[in-house]
């Protein structure tokens, strides 16, 4: 089989520092995005375990598979999880979700946890859209803007370019800085046109690194406009898969004149993590309502 340069590493993780979680309130968030799916389980609002996998052709199966990985790692049964929030584009397809919440709300909440309460502006760069979100010190959304017109300028667009140039996706960011000269930024409006432009640049003799620099710059230009439109308020953080691509992150930082906060967890799990936190709050609300009635 030909090498799949786009394929990013799926991940599973269990918190090595959390040993006394038995008896804790377990909540989960499952984020089915267009490109990746994450499941996060928290114990009393502390991250216990997560899995991040590729979203397959069946969203429901993706949710089940991601959650099964977490269950295997922790030895938990699904019934032990008290409340689950489904989020992301496929949120209605999480078969075991108790409630659905949009990814915009969950990303703000998750970013607040990962990057701390000083975060006010979040850029979520997902598989097929990007979002600029403003939130308060509690991770509550104050305003947001989304751009989901095309896969160009998103994770899926980056995957297409990785395959086209034969560069492993995890290397794209670093290699984009190896370019001494940079061609004009590639279109960020249409991934099909972007592919054509990449082919044209290669035929003109530009190196892969130079073309990658142009593509990363185009992606940064596109999201910077979204950030400008929604307003930049510090602190700033980036979530989603593209947050792992320093070729885009550094260029966004330069364009906006800011530095993105560094988090202690995988940027890709922000939505699911936010979902698990929302799940805890919703459960508490339900308990309070139960006590009143």
């Amino acid at each position: 089989m030909a090498q799949e340069y786009w394929r990013w590493s799926e991940e599973s993780w269990i918190n090595p520092d959390l040993n006394d979680w038995k008896g804790a309130c377990l909540t989960a968030g499952v984020d089915i995005g267009s490109t990746s799916t994450q499941a996060v389980v928290m114990a009393d609002k502390k991250p216990l375990s997560y899995a991040s996998i590729r979203t397959g052709s069946n969203s429901k199966d993706s949710a089940v598979n991601a959650m099964n990985r977490v269950l295997e790692l922790t030895g938990l049964q699904r019934e032990e999880i008290a409340f689950t929030v489904g989020t992301g584009y496929g949120r209605v397809n999480v078969p075991f979700a108790d409630k659905t919440v949009t990814e915009i709300t969950c990303h703000a909440r998750g970013a607040n946890f990962i990057y701390g309460p000083s975060v006010r502006t979040i850029l979520d760069m997902g598989g097929q859209d990007c979002k600029a979100i403003h939130c308060d010190e509690n991770g509550r959304v104050r305003s947001f803007m989304m751009n989901d017109k095309c896969a160009a300028g998103t994770g899926r667009g980056m995957e297409v370019i990785a395959d086209l140039l034969g560069v492993p996706i995890e290397e794209i960011g670093a290699r984009s800085f190896e370019a001494d000269q940079i061609p004009k930024p590639i279109t960020s409006q249409c991934v099909v046109f972007a592919k054509t432009e990449v082919g044209h640049l290669m035929r003109e003799g530009w190196t892969k690194e130079q073309v990658l620099a142009a593509y990363c710059q185009a992606m940064a230009d596109r999201v910077a406009r979204l950030l400008e439109r929604n307003g930049m308020e510090l602190d700033f953080a980036i979530t989603g898969g593209i947050a792992k691509n320093i070729g885009v992150v550094r260029r966004v930082e330069k364009l906006m004149g800011v530095t993105a906060l560094q988090g202690s967890y995988d940027s890709q799990i922000a939505g699911a993590l936010g979902g698990a936190l929302m799940a805890y709050d919703l459960l508490e609300k339900r308990k309070r309502r139960g006590q009143r009635s």
Binding site: Y89, E103, T105, A108, G139, R140, V141, M146, M278
Partner: protein, 369 residues
Amino acid sequence: MKPTIAIGNEYIESWKKAGKKVVGTVCCHIPEELIHAAGMLPIRIRGTECTDDRDGETWMTGYTCGFCRACLQNLIDGKYNFLDGIIVSDGCMFIQRLYDNWAVIGNTECKLNINIPRNHDKLAVNYFKDELQIVKETMEKLSGNEITEEKLNASIDLYNQTRALIREMFTLTKGNEPKITGTETLQWTIRAMSMPKEIYNEELRAFIDEAKQREPITNYGARLMMIGSAVDDPEYVRIFEEHGGLIVTDYNCYGTRYLWSDVTRQEGESAIESIARSYLEKLTCPRMTDLHDEMYEDMLGLAREFDVDGIVYVRLKNCCLWGGESVFFYDKFEKEGIPVLTLEKEEITTNAGQVGVRAEAFVEMIEGN
């Protein structure tokens, strides 16, 4: 809930069978009273029911607004073959282009294009009165009926009854116990522009009386007001209402703006003068250059009156009237503590899921997550 009335519906069929004529308009600044007074049925042309506008795009190009392209497509597809006449205005740039194209390729018996001033001073009202005189004469010729002062006054009275009923219908979305949805109100205003007002007024009266007896709607998270370009598809409104919102009022030329403020009479005015003045005074969209501040005051007043939690600002792609208004929105509403969700829209909705995510997130934001 009644489904949205079809373009070619049973009322139009009966009307035509009786040997009477139908005249279509596009912009709500064209006074239907003049068509009605000639004994003809005025209906409003819409883009609803269009699922593929490729001919509209071929004629008008992709640089025009999707609403006008869909209207042209519906005309080309023969959905408006029952029309005997069509009156278009320079309500906006692309409606004008719609007329230009239909004037060349269309088969409608009578095609009339009028100019409507963009301000409302005395000079403008006089000019508009002259334009309406042309409409009057054209309608008399098309129908074979003279439009007398008495007939025109009777039409004004009938239309004012419709306006009063529509305003009454919207009271049912007010307060803590709303009885009807925004999907329904848009269905009813569209119904008003698709059938004889005499029958419509009776139907709407019955609907209001029935709706008053309903249990209040409780399964919503935020009271929303939809403002912006022409939204003639209640299914678009339904997206918001299926994601936790309740559209309690609007500023939409197919919604409240169609028939809201009465045609009023002033001492010494003829009926046509009253119509000219009232239509230029009515607050509808940013086309009226000397009523811009008043329009925002009116929108804000409605938002307060209907206890709105958030504004959904919808702009059709390439809309020459509402496209550039966002610069004012944040200042006019957010300063008042009313959040705004801005959405770009195509006439043919193919992104219901994407709109739904935004709608739901907006409601979650208002609810405090």
